[in-house]
Amino acid sequence: MFGMNTDVQAMIPMFVAVPLGMSLLIQLVARHRQVLAETLNIAAMMALVVMSWSTIGGEGIYHLGGWPTPVGIDMRMDALTTLLLLVVSIVGFAVSVYAVDYMRRFTSTSHFYSLFMLMVTGMNGVILAGDLFNLYVFLEVAAIASYSLVAFGCAHEELEASFKYIVLGSLSSALILTGVALVYGITGTLNLGHIAERIAESGMDEPLLLAFGLFIVGFGFKSALVPFHAWLPDAHPSAPAPVSAMLSGVLIKAIGIYVLARLAFNVFGISESALEMLRWLGVLSMVVGGLLAVGQKDIKRLFAFSSISQVGFMVLGLGLGSPLGMVGALYHLVNHSMFKSLLFLNAGAVEYTTGTRDLNQLGGLNGRMPVTGATSLIGSMSIAGLPPFNGFWSKLIIVLACIEGGYYMLATVAVLVSIITLAYQLKVQRMAFFAALPEALKNLRREPPMMSLAMILLAVGCVALSLLMFSGLRDPWLIGTAQQVLSAGAFGG
């Protein structure tokens, strides 16, 4: 239905141009007009949702400036990029709606919206990049915007977290750039398709293995896999809630997991030892992140550790190397972006009305903030993997894929970590929403309307995603075709 190849091709650069142009426009016309800035931001995200929806089923390569492939810069669109673009724009849209109420507390919100648009530009650019160096450039655009968004409030914790984030982020970017230099030195090209061809001809020699290792470490930092996770539990909770939702919901996937999967499966060609490394990284992240989350008292910090654990599920699914495992990983990626951004928005609403994130000082919020209570219950049950919700299906597929591949230990660990997830989510529900209301919180306001709207939107998304299951266990709608891109192996030409 949308298979018009030329239409899709003309649309590819717009995914970068629209948010980039909007970030400049907001500074030009809406610098001191808050309502205009909010409207422009929501309009841009709405346009991106419509655009990414209309590219479903389309694929193609866009040559920037009309230059043919070896000379010019390519942007590449296929089913996997469409899936990621949809996730970024839908979560981004809900977050922009939410930010209208939330960001009123801050000064100079037009800067927030400009930086937000730049972050979306960077993510869309990384997703669509057809060559390694542009991938690196867009990665840095998204990273710089997110460093400054983490520090947006300029309080003690925010600055400290942002400094930690920027130091580790620059370190990992330097590793990635070294990898890019090595790959260019050996293959003589930066185009992802051409690199894949050269590697398929000559095989992986040692310098290429070193480059691949540098990429795994570099993008492991970006997606906060366990030995490289130190920045995430500081950076994600310290940021303003809409930014936390974007960072944990989509950024670590768009510039972390996605690039890792793309390079490992479509460019370098995955080997059994690389798969085993991915499985180890995944299991380590799942277990360590889950265990550390249980002990947290700060809601957002707990959710941040939970993100590390859930990212582990995705990497485990990819590391299984089977089509079913990849379906599980991609399905969990989409689901996690929905429920984790929902949970961070809930935490933000709690902080907005009560002024604290400490679980010990909260309680009984269900009576005062019904929308936050209900949506956070949906989010918690989804992430814990209880049956009718989306998280259950993606975790089920990952566990089934483990059993199918003969990894019974991994399947057991995955089930155990799901139970740990249930434990810490129940802890949040009990301590914040169900226990008796403390005296200090007796005269709470309700959450503002735009916040409620955004949270309801994402909660509906969580329920709707579970319906994807009924389009087939092995190839759910959209995700099945995205998985075929990964399992097709190296790019041909």
């Binding site: 003690h156 130091v167 330097a174 500081d234």
Partner: protein, 115 residues
């Protein structure tokens, strides 16, 4: 051989990032590390006794391809330096703000986040 000098520069930067206690020294170490990577990227495109990558009216494309150094890594390094400048400006601004809040550049005293 000359590549190992780049590696040395990268490792000096890495060492600085790990052992420094002052925020500004960490920033400078990151800068050193980044320039080590930039030099390596330049070396990838270098050719001994190569000519500058500019096509004069007299030279043919075949001569140019045989004699000139690879211009692409130079363009990439230029881009990367600009990105580095942006990150550097942001990092220094953060250091200044951190000094305003905590009254110190010492990272061991800037620790409110734990766990």
């Amino acid at each position: 051989m000359i590549y190992s000098l780049c590696l040395l520069l990268i490792l000096i930067g890495l060492y600085g990032v790990i052992v420094s206690r002052q925020t500004l020294k960490i920033v400078v170490s990151l800068l050193i590390m980044n320039h080590g990577v930039h030099l390596m990227l330049l070396l990838v495109g270098y050719r001994k006794n190569g000519s500058p990558p500019i096509v004069d009216p007299g030279t043919t494309i075949a001569d140019f391809a045989a004699g000139a150094v690879d211009p692409l890594p130079q363009a990439m390094v230029l881009t990367s330096i600009v990105i580095g400048l942006g990150v550097l400006a942001l990092m220094v601004a953060l250091c200044v703000r951190l000094y305003e809040r905590y009254g110190t550049f010492d990272v061991t005293e800037i620790r409110r986040l734990r766990g």
